[in-house]
Symmetry: none
Subunit: 413 residues, 2 copies
């Protein structure tokens, strides 16, 4: 028995007036998803807990079976692991955005116009010399996708208990990193980061990439905004918990970092499966099918719907749902449901009206050989609320799947 788990970032939503009070999932044609629901058992799921809006990191920790309230130590370390950095215990890691700042240190674009991968990679490369070794602390910096990257401090006497430099809204000044506790480690870490931010600004402001951007009338990517200081949590790998071989196909660095930290093998991504709304969802499904021989459990993560919702872009969200529909259709054709389970869910709702994560429950469907089918005719927030799984928690999903795979251990005798 095998299982494929498809997590669609931010796919769940709320009824929208412009869709005649249907949700984007309800209003989009998706015969394959509906077929999956007909072949499966469905429910609604509170990834963390009812009403609590999950982050992408805490949501995926829970969905992979780890209680985020016990294990979560900040986002940065996952981002760095996902970026391919070898994060060690004690390292303090951050995610960062390339952003645009004016001479008064006011951030005018938090994503430097969602600067593209090539330019961002070139900027990140040049940071290596600025960063390499800073006041005795090793600084490692890596670009991930779009305007995003990861930065890591390694050395003695560091602490993740420091604030962000990201002002969180445009028009705000670059924030001083402050110690969140009055310890020498936190003070030292904050000091290093503030010095580092200025050195990076000096190195980037006249960088050839930014001079080219200026000629094209674009804002420069001249500063990095640090967020989410974190260290790696101590968690038992999935392979050890359930005795399975697990792999993931995840373009988003943050989510990939969570999956890798859970001991999953990150499979090479097909081209165009880049975590944006331009992603080729079906290509990821192909990679999953090709690897089903070698792995018992494969996670496919699709990011685009979340981005579309953050931007309030309903049309784009429906485009992403259709891509996921194509992926599910492909899997229903290529995978044998006699020996493989397919689970389809979201990590959280990102309602178009909210433009951010919300604490609504998400729909979840599990199709496969031995589920007790519940007779649902469609896959949506509304359909799944009537499903045979009832209302479960994110933490329940892995044990439910592993139980179907026969890989959970008996408790008691």
């Amino acid at each position: 028995m095998k299982a494929i788990l498809i997590i669609c970032d931010g796919m769940a939503d709320r009824p929208l007036k412009e869709l005649r009070w249907r949700t984007p999932l309800e209003a989009t044609k998706k015969p394959a998803m509906n077929r999956l629901a007909r072949l499966g058992v469905s429910g609604i799921m509170d990834t963390i807990s009812p009403g609590v809006p999950p982050g992408s990191d805490t949501a995926h920790l829970a969905l992979l079976g780890y209680d985020p309230y016990k294990t979560y130590r900040g986002r940065g370390a996952f981002e760095a692991v996902g970026a391919g950095l070898d994060v060690k215990p004690g390292d303090v890691a951050f995610r960062f955005n390339f952003a645009s700042m004016n001479e008064d240190m006011v951030v005018i674009d938090r994503r430097a116009g969602r600067i593209g991968g090539d330019e961002a990679a070139r900027l990140a490369k040049s940071l290596e010399t600025v960063c390499s070794n800073y006041s005795g602390v090793q600084v490692i910096c890596k670009h991930t996708v779009e305007h995003r990257g990861a930065l890591l401090l390694r050395g003695e006497g560091l602490s993740p208990e420091v604030s962000d430099s990201d002002p969180e809204e445009e028009g705000g000044k670059l924030r001083r990193v402050e110690p969140l506790r009055d310890t020498p480690e936190a003070r030292r870490t904050a000091e290093i980061l503030n010095d580092l931010s200025l050195s990076i600004y000096k190195a980037l402001k006249n960088h050839p990439v930014n001079e080219e951007r200026a000629q094209r009338g674009l804002h420069p990517a001249n500063v990095i905004l640090l967020r989410g200081a974190g260290t790696l949590p101590q968690i038992t790998p999935i392979s050890q918990l359930y005795g399975i071989k697990a792999a993931c196909i995840v373009p988003s660095a943050l989510v990939r970092g969570v999956a890798i930290s859970a001991g999953m093998k990150a499979l090479p991504l097909p081209p165009c499966a880049d975590g944006t709304t331009g992603t080729d969802a079906k290509a990821k499904a192909k990679v999953a099918v090709e690897n089903l021989r070698d792995y018992d459990f494969i996670l496919i993560h699709v990011k685009g719907a979340d981005n579309a919702s953050h931007d309030g872009n309903l049309r784009q969200k429906q485009v992403m749902i259709r891509k996921i529909e194509g992926m599910v259709g492909f899997l229903l054709r290529e995978v044998n449901l006699r020996d493989t389970y397919i689970a389809l869910t979201a990590d959280h709702a990102t309602p178009i009206t909210v433009r951010g994560h919300a604490g609504d429950p998400v729909p979840v469907t599990i199709a496969g050989p031995e589920v007790v089918k519940d007779g649902l005719t469609g896959y949506s927030e509304r359909h799944c609320a009537k499903g045979g799984l009832g209302r479960i928690r994110g933490l329940d999903l892995m044990p439910i799947l592993m139980n179907l795979l026969g890989m959970t251990r008996k408790f008691g005798a």
Copy 2:
């Protein structure tokens, strides 16, 4: 976005033979409540935990988002806060009943014939001189509604770990208050209370109010039965937890005490909204509507159905349900569901057959702009069990409502 939460004390019930196995909610005409269900999403809710009969205090703690297992420190302090007493940390507070006791110290009526407010207030007034300062401990005493009141001890070396003097059933003797732990504080507190009980009996037995009652052939209210020793729990106010302005319209002193302790503003009650089955439920709804401009979240509590069930009075319970129906109808006319959520639930079941609180789940419906309507056609224990909310806990209700108001904080990044 705003929200009104209506909690109907003890409204949930069980199927009754005399109603041809329908519950009181099912057997009462209530088009407005049914309409609320049609416009909303419903479910069943275990206020504390499945099968656990909640007290009104622990139920409301949970419904306001506080885990009663962690925060509950006895009923008395809430009763005293609700009575308008300024309860300070360390104060030991009790609720009390005026009751009727004969010369052999046998309690013959635990509620002194549900003695009316005026008489009880006069008796309580006269206690002030008995109580004011007792063995160096300040005693503060206040009448609330009907036969109920609150009493508070303030001073050094007191403990809430003492038993009740209430025998709990008629025909039992006034109980000696006993220390529940072998500490000097508990022993001293018990001793003070036993002395105090006798002094109060001496002061009340020939009180003019009781002489008048005797002439009318009524039992005297000549003793107070102490129950539910408690101190105030340390809880973070709702305003701070969710960044909202919250108010309550609650005639019951106990529940008002919980709401005030949670940082809610107690709005002035309209006349006749007195927590009895004679209450004017619609008048409370009017106060809610008038205050919606100034508050984000308003709790309306309706007590009467619980009283009717305790008395095993089905007819009276249905009268109360019709009053709540009138309130819901008024709110559906006066409140704009495009910007306001209305939630309707009970704090626990008080089945007519049980004449006490039971651990059955209660129906809950939330109507408002962005809920995923589940197509239910009615509001009842049976209907709501098929609703889109599934089965939730009391502790989940506030996060679910606050999530709809956009006032929950993301966990993770």
